[in-house]
Amino acid sequence: MKLLTKLTLFITLSKLLIVVLFVMLLPLLVNRASFQYTNYYLGQQRKKVLAVIQKNGIEYYLQGDTSYGSYTMLKEEYISLSPSSTVALRDTIESSQRIIEADTLNYRVLTHHLTANNKRYQLEIGKTISTIGQYNSLLQRFTLYILIGLIVISILVDLIYTHVLLRPLAKIISSKLVHRKFPFKEALFPVRTSTSDFKLLDRSLMSLMEKIQEAFDKEREFTSNASHELMTPISILKTNIENLLEDESLAEEHQEKILAMMKTLNRLKKIVHSLLYISRIENNQFAMNDTVEVFSLVEEVKDELSHRMEIQDISFINAISPKLIMSQVNHDLLFQLLYNLINNAIRYNKAKGTIHITDRYTQGKPYILQVADTGIGIRPDELGSIFNRFKKSAHSGSEGYGLGLSIVKTIASFQGFDINVTSEFGKCTTFSITVPAGMVLAR
């Protein structure tokens, strides 16, 4: 999962959790708050009553009676003043029932004891419980709406901020990792960010990439220079030996020796030549603006090699889908790639064997081309290293210098293809080339 997705999920879920908790706690809180307010309200009422008594005397209420009682029209509140015998120092507030005009009602009651005219009185101020909770549901709903609104705003702000915050990371990933293919041909640009961690990451990646590219360039330059420098002495030796062979008076044993020299020199020349060819591909010396019909290309290679197949009685099946055009490639390089693969398929085949060229084309998907033979196969422990330069099979006695396949590999990576190999030792080998979607189109 991507970091941004993870963060988005976390932010949304955590806020939702807060909302759920709040919704569960809200009735309790509102109840508590309204009771506390009621207590405070009753206290205020008491103060008012006491202030009236202080000012006008208790007779203002009693009017000659021994007790006084009054209530509002719907009996939401009442006040009573009655003689009392108990001596209580503190006010009490409690919920209890009172019977007012035959109605039994639940009240929140503040009880206060006072002394006036040397008599003890008990003052009760009450408020019905039902009126206390009157606004609770409204209050709850209102609070909930505000909360949800705030949460939505905060989620939005969080998401936008994380998005902005993580944008440099996404940019680093896309510009340095995903859309980069080795060798790094285009210039590198630092990603603009004020986050020091990203800066560090970006810088480290860039310096790593530059180091790799530098090492690669050095190797490439060396290969190229060394090959050129080697070509001249090889040239001289070659012409020299060719002239020697011209000599008609040469004894047969000398001829054989000269021939052996020529053979060795040819091997040397071929190695240098292959290295030079590889370095030329890596130096971008091949233009990639040809369009090639895949089927015809395979036929071209087949024509070039058909003699060899006839000699070994190998059947060749070109099952490439017709009318497929590969664009943005170099014809000569592709020819060389297929030539090397098919030549190997002949060379390491058995008599009366088969070479099968197949492909898989789906529009919008990578194109896959396979060269399969029924040959001697490759040992599992050698499969991983067959594309390496100068890798010689530890098992085969022949002088395999493996440059054929490393040329194949170089061409494939230059063209942006993937290449891999599967093999069953003693039975068959299949090379698969995967061409990026869009490079191959049906006509």
Partner: protein, 224 residues
């Protein structure tokens, strides 16, 4: 025909000279651009073989300069640089052919012959071979008007040997010509034997092919 070899590697120049003189060319050697200019001013040449890596001048510069002095000569560029760009520039500047080092002297001679044929135009491209005739332009082998059906590779092989008649040709030289620089010598040279066998089989139906000699352990030779 007169040939000027412009090559700073003396050993290489001498070898080329030695080989070409056997094929009856007259050779002069120039080891630097200034020497080459002097030679061109003093003599006329049919061929100028030009190494691009000269000590005192850029070979491509020398090429455009010498075109003014020796305009009629045919130019073949010889170079170890082998860059595609050089090749295109060289041919743009009017070189007739381009041969990357290391090349076979036989290949050099083939190219020179091809240029001669192309330039003379009226030169008869049909060469007699025993009772056969080989038409290099039409790529046909005839025996008294009968066309002998040789495969492409077989014809390449036969014509190459014919152009270098009376020279011993090794399997490596032949396979290098037929399959180019990526020929796998040990393996490919065996196919030369198969091709030669086929050529003999197809042609001996009509007449004797004893002009095609096998040199035991070495290779083949056309002797006429």
């Amino acid at each position: 025909m007169k040939v000027l070899i412009v090559e700073d590697e003396r050993a290489m120049a001498k070898d080329m000279c030695f080989f070409l003189e056997k094929a009856f060319y007259l050779c002069d050697n120039a080891y630097s651009a200034s020497e080459a200019t002097r030679c061109m001013e003093e003599n006329g040449y049919d061929f100028i073989l030009l190494d691009l890596g000269l000590p005192d001048s850029d070979g491509l510069q020398l090429l455009s300069d010498s075109k003014k002095i020796c305009g009629n000569a045919s130019y073949i560029i010889l170079t170890a640089r082998g860059d595609l760009e050089d090749r295109i520039k060289g041919l743009d500047l009017g070189a007739d052919d381009y041969l990357p080092k290391p090349f076979s002297l036989l290949e050099l001679q083939s190219r020179m012959q091809a240029i001669s044929r192309r330039k003379s135009g009226n030169n008869d491209p049909v060469i007699g071979l025993g009772e056969f005739s080989v038409d290099l332009n039409k790529r046909a082998v005839l025996h008294e008007k009968t066309d002998i059906d040789l495969s492409r590779k077989e014809f390449d092989l036969l014509s190459y040997m014919l152009l270098h008649k009376n020279r011993p040709l090794t399997r490596f030289q032949l396979s290098e010509h037929i399959w180019g620089n990526f020929s796998d010598d040990d393996y490919d040279s065996n196919y030369i034997d198969v091709h030669i066998k086929n050529i003999r089989k197809k042609m001996s139906v009509y007449a004797t092919v004893d002009w095609l000699q096998t040199l035991r352990g070495v290779g083949y030779k056309i002797k006429i």
